[in-house]
Symmetry: C2
Subunit: 118 residues, 2 copies
């Protein structure tokens, strides 16, 4: 049997026969399931925040609430620590989601203004 | 009974007696539950991608896989549409998470290099 050529790239093995690639497929299937769960949880979160936006517009409450945000950040950082997730990432994630929520709330407030002026 | 002064701000009512604020608290309790679920799903996702990172380093597979990413984006956009979530947001969310994953993989690869040189 001839020795494996040393210049053969490590990634040229056929997919089906490589245990590393089989393991990669297994992990990716889990990631895909988790991503579907994340998308559905995010959809449900935005349903709640859309309700919050309408409620705040109706009750003339201010769109932003810095003390609520501070409590949310501290709580999520602690949940992240407990789940061995980087708390800085959890905080960045919350900021990313809240930016989108504020964008939605501003759109709702603009619609409400247009409706009251129209 | 004296009329309510017209210059009284809308937000000055006491919290307990205002139905709008009670409804706000109810919605925030749901948001807090969803955030806890999101943090735990993200923690589990990073457990999977840490395994992927170690596997790729061990099997000398390239850290990035553009064709996998393209498939993930299209799938998540469709899941988002089905869940009435903005598909552009879903795509931005995936990009946000993948940036963090690549940061982790680079750290794992650097550790592996240090270990093999040390």
């Amino acid at each position: 049997m001839s020795p494996k050529p040393s210049n053969m790239p490590h990634t040229s093995k056929p997919v089906g026969s490589d245990p590393a690639l089989a393991e990669l497929e297994r992990l990716r299937a889990s990631i895909d399931n988790i991503d579907a769960a994340l998308i559905h949880m995010l959809a449900e979160r935005f349903r709640c925040t859309q309700e919050v936006g309408k409620l705040k517009a109706r009750a003339h409450l201010p769109p932003a609430d810095p003390s609520r945000e501070t409590r949310q950040i501290e709580r999520l950082r602690q949940l992240a620590r407990d789940a061995h997730l980087d708390p800085d990432f959890a905080e960045k994630f919350l900021a990313f989601v809240i930016r989108e929520v504020i964008r939605h709330h501003e759109a709702i407030a603009a619609d409400a203004r247009r409706a009251s002026e129209g």
